[in-house]
């Protein structure tokens, strides 16, 4: 997963390669879940309405610091919309879905929360300046705790996608 994320970050620096790198990277991350049941990944369909609403709530939290300082908000170039969706879903399935389930099986929920947060932060080390990493880690921690609390991945996917599209 880390190799995939770092490769994606490096390829994205090549002129014209940003969108293909994000789309292929997102797809690749999604494939990490191959063989896992949806329920193990937190993608079962029970209480789906609640979980989508939970995703809206999480998205509101993720966007709140930017919305409160809207004058400083950068704009996501339109061409990156599809790529943003692909990479958001892929990352959630890979980190909070598959990796979380594997670590939980190995050492319980606390290991899964800490392990996915560390891996998620490390995955962004090449694509983000160092000063952004605490915020990236905090976002990962929040989404992982949601996954642990409600055994749900739908809300993190919804929240992550909305946050990436809005910023």
């Amino acid at each position: 997963m880390l190799a995939l994320e770092w490769s994606r970050a490096l390829v994205s620096t090549i002129p014209g390669a940003v969108v293909p790198a994000l789309l292929i990277g997102g797809l690749g991350l999604g494939l990490v879940a191959w063989g896992w049941s949806p329920e193990r990944l937190g993608l079962g369909t029970s209480k789906l309405g609640w979980r989508v609403i939970g995703g809206f709530g999480l998205a509101a939290v993720l966007l709140l610091p930017a919305a409160a300082r809207a004058a400083a908000v950068p704009l996501l170039p339109g061409g990156l919309m599809a790529a943003a969706v692909a990479v958001s879903i892929g990352e959630e399935i890979a980190f909070r879905g598959t990796l979380f389930a594997a670590l939980e099986e190995l050492g319980g929920a606390p290991l899964a929360v800490i392990g996915t947060t560390l891996a998620w932060t490390a995955a962004h080390a090449l694509s983000h300046p160092a000063e952004f990493l605490p915020a990236v880690a905090a976002a990962g921690l929040l989404l992982a705790i949601w996954r642990m609390t409600f055994r749900d991945l739908v809300a993190p996917i919804v929240a992550h996608t909305i946050a990436d599209l809005a910023l």
């Binding site: 919305a67 400083a72 915020a135």
Partner: protein
């Protein structure tokens, strides 16, 4: 209940961490390195002054060598083709790039980037390719403008397809003053639109949570009650 508290603490920790950096740590999209403004906008925060740049182009076999001049912070790069300069009487060509202070504010235009003065001690006879980087904190520029003097007139140059995020490029057959921006009356509201949209998005999400949460809660209670009735 303990886990809900943990979730609340994590949400608070995220807000504090996210507040401490500039908004927009895109997930998967490399944030550009901070732009060095001559005249930083209020949202820029800490700002370093932009760099200048210089290049000495050699004369080889009677024509100027192909080469690129750039500012030391990489905010402007200009590439010259072979024999790009009229080198009559020259043993070399010196190119210099200087950020202009104070920032020009021509009527009808809004510049997203610094204005740079590019000079050479020989006339340019072939088009040069110019690439300017811009900040993610300002509205995207639509054009690169060129002028022979700061008083104008500013000529709008045709921009090339964007090869890299946060850059704009064009070709120019003259040197002089360059800045990337847009007509004030065209997309000057572009930056503001997101300023208005994002709070609306967040408000809409909160309203959606509240509005959808109420019927879902009622439905859940009704189901729980009917379950209890069935047991009786």
């Amino acid at each position: 209940m303990r886990r809900l508290w943990l979730l609340a603490v994590a949400a608070a920790a995220y807000i504090v961490a996210a507040w401490s950096v500039a908004p927009g740590f895109y997930d998967g999209f490399s944030p550009p390195q901070p732009y060095n403004f001559v005249c930083p906008p209020p949202q820029a925060g800490a700002n370093a002054q932009p760099s200048d740049g210089a290049l000495d182009i050699k004369i080889i076999n009677g024509s100027s060598d192909p080469n690129s001049a750039f500012t030391n912070d990489g905010q402007l790069v200009i590439g010259f083709l072979p024999a790009a300069f009229d080198i009559t009487g020259k043993t070399g060509v010196h190119v210099s790039i200087t950020p202009v202070t104070p920032c020009p504010n021509p009527p009808g235009l809004h510049f997203s980037t610094n204005t740079y003065h590019i000079t050479a001690d020989a006339p340019l006879v072939k088009s040069a390719n110019l690439v300017m980087r811009y900040s993610n904190l300002v509205a995207d520029p639509s054009y690169i403008y060129r002028a022979e003097s700061l008083e104008g007139p500013w000529t709008q140059l045709t921009v090339q397809q964007q090869a890299q995020l946060w850059t704009i490029s064009t070709s120019t057959n003259q040197l002089g003053y360059f800045a990337a921006g847009y007509p004030s009356n065209a997309i000057s509201t572009d930056g503001k639109s997101n300023q208005q949209i994002l709070p609306i998005v967040v408000a809409a999400l909160i309203v959606a949570v509240l509005l959808a949460g109420v019927p879902l809660t009622l439905l859940r209670r009704r189901q729980a009650r009917s379950g209890a009735d069935d047991e009786e």
